[in-house]
Amino acid sequence: MSILVIAEHDNEEIKASTNNVVTAATNLEGEIHILVAGSNCTGAKDQASKISNVTKVLVADAPEYEHCLAENIADLIVAISADYSHILAPATTNGKNFMPRVSALLDVSQVSDITAIDAPDTFQRPIYAGNCIATVQNSDSKKVITVRTTAFDAAPNDGNAEIADLQENHNLGVSEFIKAEIAESDRPELTAADVIISGGRGMQNGDNFKILESVADKLGAAIGASRAAVDSGFVPNDYQVGQTGKIVAPNLYIAVGISGAIQHLAGMKDSKVIVAINKDEDAPIFQVADYGLVADLFTAVPELDAKL
């Protein structure tokens, strides 16, 4: 039996989260195939064929797959699922959207957001906002899994997989894409960034995030935020790092004016190096920080900016 990885892409490019899932798949036994479902997705297809350890790229290129609507993607995956022992997707908002639908259609339980593979049927996954790690053994004949991408390194792009075009059309016709409002930014994506600088309630308002932007520009960093900052309207929703926002694990995470609620820590505590800048020396964020600076962020951050 082989393993099927569902690619995350924007039709033109494969997202790095796909490479993370391929690495997870190498912990299982069997050939690794990738499904690229999209519309006019030649760019993504070609990139997928270069991911190491992948032997075959299955391509479903049709208008109904353009926006990754869960109904159509799930029907497609189910239609080609027979030969696979494991079906894996990144735990991105796309993967989280269509994978449980696939599971239910196959009448199997899903294992969400795995962080380790102990055996082909045994997986580790965080529960309760990462306060506990559950090791679960799944008895279903087919395993449907979403993968926490920060837990696995990205597979390199030095492969040369065969490409196979699928003639599969699945359009349930119950949902329709209207529009996407995706923030355009020259900065790296939060989940793929090497360095992240995040602001919390201590930033006081959205304008003050400008002082983080200057540091971010120098470090090539992405900008994140705590839920408090997002709820206060300082920055858009997609900045949120935490249990219900994005899970990140950069090499360097700089938390500015963030107290460190467990829901926020759940999203960033696997970062390699954590820096906290906060004027409250009792803030819980200092308990996970490698380097803490007890200071007023409005003097410390500009000073940091000047010294980089």
């Binding site: 926006h67 609507l69 109904e71 799930a74 908002t93 989280k96 959207n97 269509f98 994978m99 449980p100 639908r101 696939v102 599971s103 239910a104 009448d107 339980s109 899903q110 969400s112 965080p126 529960i127 309760y128 906002a129 306060n131 506990c132 790690i133 090791t135 679960v136 053994q137 799944n138 008895s139 279903d140 119950v174 894409f177 209207i178 996407a180 409002e181 995706i182 923030a183 994506e189 470090l219 929703n237 997609d238 219900t244 090499n251 360097l252 467990i262 390699k272 954590i274 820096v275 200092f286 308990q287 920080a289 380097y291 803490g292 600076l293 007890v294 000073e303 940091l304 010294k307 980089l308």
Partner: protein
């Protein structure tokens, strides 16, 4: 329009849970229980649709032990009209819950099913999508805005990198994200009134679906401990440590 709102009883979000000493599970002795925050948002959205004259009836439903009646009463106090407890002592997995809820959909024929995107205990984020699959309905997950327009729901979804707006045919499944609304507090008169509202109990075993768990929990362990680091005195120290000790900046 009739709205079904499935909810879940979970550990209160302020509680920091720990594994049991023998790692056989999560230590839930004497912890405060509450309605899952995302479910509360779903109830609120249903109540707003009723207040706007779009919805006519709101049914709250949950799968769990008899203790879950407490959370159903909370939903009734927030504005649900009646409630159903699908009672079982088994810790049912999302797939089993979705099968039981499908049975309730077949009986009640709601036009809209509104539920939370994930429960903060298992963090599975599965039930809505599975229910949509079993019903053959469209799904609009992670909703931050919901508008009913004729026979369709127009839903803005929180996705990686921004927002996506889709239109789905009714009946459909909508799962709430954090920013769909800010739930109200139940008033004392409404809490009193909720005690008189109809709450039916259905035995899960009578619904004729397989709810046996497929996943066995081998153990529940604490996450790797992150040692607290050091406090640096100045920005200069910080930059020096990042450059020369951690080597994460150049």
């Amino acid at each position: 329009m009739k709205i079904l709102v499935p909810i879940k009883r979970v550990v209160d979000y302020n509680v920091k849970v720990r594994p049991k000493a023998d790692e056989s599970g999560v230590d839930l002795n004497n912890v405060k229980m509450a309605i899952n925050p995302f479910c509360e948002i779903a109830v609120e959205e249903a109540v707003r649709l009723k207040e706007a004259g779009t919805a006519t009836e709101i049914i709250a439903v949950t799968v769990g032990t008899s203790a879950s009646q407490e959370q159903l009463r909370t939903a009734l106090a927030l504005g649900a009209d009646r409630a159903i407890l699908v009672e079982t002592d088994i810790e049912v997995e999302p797939l089993g819950i979705a099968k039981l809820l499908k049975g309730i959909i077949d009986k009640e024929s709601p036009d809209l099913i509104l539920l939370g995107k994930q429960a903060i205990d298992g963090d599975n984020n599965q039930t809505s999508q599975m229910l949509a699959a079993l019903s053959g309905y469209a799904q609009a997950t992670f909703a931050s805005e919901l508008k009913i327009e004729g026979e369709k729901a127009v839903v803005t979804r929180e996705v990686d990198g921004g927002l996506q707006t889709i239109s789905v045919n009714l009946p459909c499944i909508v799962s709430s994200d954090l920013r769909l609304n800010e739930p109200r507090y139940a008033s004392l008169p409404n809490i009193m009134k909720a005690k008189q509202k109809q709450l039916d109990v259905v035995e899960a075993g009578s619904m004729g679906v397989d709810i046996e768990p497929r996943n066995k929990t081998i153990k529940v362990s604490p996450p790797p401990v992150r040692e607290a680091g050091i406090i640096v005195e100045t920005v200069d120290d910080l930059v020096d440590k990042l450059k020369n000790e951690a080597k994460v900046i150049t």
